[in-house]
Symmetry: D2
């Protein structure tokens, strides 16, 4: 099952983001993770921030529910929030336990500047703009993690079996995750068909680029910690 | 299983709303429904508007999710949205079918002034204020329907068995619904403990009163239609 | 100085609103006001609700400021809020004094259902949607009052001189007001050029129609009071 | 004219922020500015980001207007937005011209991560919470710049006369600026009296601390650029 990365409005935004997109999905943090050389404390820090990130991500999908124009969209948003808070977060918590992190520890962790910058950007974009602005701001995260891992798995430099990050890669390469990311790509086309138009493209690309740059900064945060 | 109508901050707001609360939960529309004398076209019109109402109600719980301060609150909001769009609305649609209404018809129905006034008041209050303001604006609906039916069932003037509105009363008298309304009462205490204080009470009461008056207007809308 | 009522996207929305637009700008309340036959208590009630209306209208322009994509738009919104709270409201208060109403009285007046319905609809539309949705929801008010008075002044049935409502008509026929309404028409074209597109037209028309209907209800509220 | 830094709820928040507040208002960037040793390119970069910052700051005050509970608060917010977009920004643009920066250049400058993090945090806090949450998030900026400069002026290490940053210090030491910052301190007491209470203090302090940390990061951004 492959991500339709060139499809529709997402494909166009990704293409036009150019080098910025590459810097994000092929960030040294990601490559080191694939090679199994990423220092463990760096990954642990990333896991903690990712926990805080997920809370705001779930809030962003709740906001998308409020901003829905149709009952179908509202239903899909509700399912997305539930998927994050009832499935993904418990999985994350359980996975983090293997890394010696308790949920209480992660909750108490101060939020990094990079975590705040991306999450608040997404939420504020969604409130200042409409549902389409919000969905475009969310897309680099949802799809980018899928692409990052898919490209690692196709990369001979990636070490599989005995890589401490095997399970993490498996999660984002799973059929379940690919289905979620593919649905996000399809949803973007639906929203663009309903609320878009060429006049908005430049502004949507600016949102996509900003979100991509903030995702890159999120990996960079971890990377800089490696000392 | 009885609703704890005098409990905590909800009990205080309900008490202070006084006659306005009585006019809402004991509205002639409600009494006629209990007596089985409510004209059927009036009830059908109410069902149609209630369908549109529920969509915005689900959006209000999605908004509460975005405005949550804790993961527990976010989870509870997500469950509430799912309960409305995945359980309550399909039930409503199935129930309406018995009244000769299809979902397509209800979607196409123009939204009444009264439906707009209450739903937009709740949503706007939630956006201008905080989570506590939002929850107070939602409370008269959630709890009031439960109380209205509980009091009908305790009223000798109510006709049970062969009343065309038996099933409707059963729904709001069910343990499931009483549990939902009781949880809303408890939640209000939790939010007030976290974000409230005496200084806010007067303003919260104004919100509660306005919402109560708008709920009364929602019954009145149906009632006026009876010709 | 004439309002460019057929211009651009506003002209198209107004045309497509059809009879609903006519029912609003030629409402019996308006015609009676022009003829000088509107009962004074009805007008006084309208003035009180209009005071409450203006507060939320100013809030809507403040919201437009937050939702602005450009510094020019932000500046224009700030000027609009100031025009309402620093110029229009003091004028309204001074005018109402001639009708025996003090500001304290108007503040204490309970908000009518119709006032709540329109103002909260506009604000909520602006928050759920984007700046274009908000501006479309505001347009029927800003432009409609100008058109209603312009058509009264062109109508032989209108009584001028000795009409108790002369000053009120003068205000909405003034060059200042026509300039404000014309600027709103121009702004709508600018916003539509930036964020619009045919795909959004149907939804924007639905917003315009709803706002028009709610404005009609606002006149109707006064009219129904006439006893 | 001195800033009442210990007054009311602001004084309490500032006290409880402790070392974090000191790290912000006595940041090496600030001290170097006072000593006249701050590299000019670093200051230029700061000026460019500050331009982008001001746009979002004005949007935050517009949002405060929308979220106002009283007409007086709405008026004060409108005046604050106008003061920023019609007075402070033109002054900033004129001042930046002396540093060789045109408005077009500043508009085209990519927004730094630190600029995004603070501005979006403030806006999102204001939307997720209420007016009090928003005002608390804004306070470290408004008051902190005033305190930072007041303490520079009282510091023998500060060079006055011939310091390239004399005019910048003069602006934040002016009676006009001190009046603005003092009004913000007073406003916080008013909002806390209306919507606060001990129950909210812990959460408000968390907001204040986060905003303080993000302001520190804003200076740090410039400082890190010094190479």
């Amino acid at each position: 099952m492959a991500l339709p990365l060139d499809k529709g409005i997402f494909g166009r935004l990704r293409h036009d983001a150019g080098e910025a997109w590459e810097r994000y999905v092929r960030h040294p943090f990601v490559l080191a993770l694939g090679a199994g050389t990423l220092p463990r404390p760096v990954f642990r820090h990333f896991l903690q921030q990712d926990y805080l990130f997920l809370i705001h991500f779930a809030r962003a999908y709740a906001l998308a529910g409020f901003k829905s124009d149709t009952l179908a969209d509202l239903r899909a948003s509700a399912a997305a929030v539930s998927a994050i808070v009832d499935v993904e977060m418990p999985l994350h918590v359980s996975y983090c336990r293997d890394w010696g992190l308790t949920e209480a520890q992660m909750e108490a962790e101060p939020e990094a500047l990079e975590t705040m910058a991306y999450t608040r950007f997404v939420l504020e974009r969604g409130l200042a703009g409409d549902r389409l602005d919000l969905d475009v701001a969310l897309a680099p995260c949802v799809v980018g993690y899928g692409e990052a891992v898919a490209r690692l798995l196709a990369d001979p430099a990636t070490k599989r079996g005995g890589n401490p990050y095997d399970a993490w890669m498996d999660a984002y390469a799973s059929d379940e995750y690919v289905a979620v990311a593919s649905a996000a790509i399809d949803n973007l086309d639906r929203q663009f068909a309903r609320r878009g138009g060429e006049a908005r493209y430049e502004s949507l690309l600016a949102t996509f680029n900003a979100a991509t740059r903030l995702e890159e900064a999120f990996w960079e945060m971890g990377w800089r910690q490696r000392g």
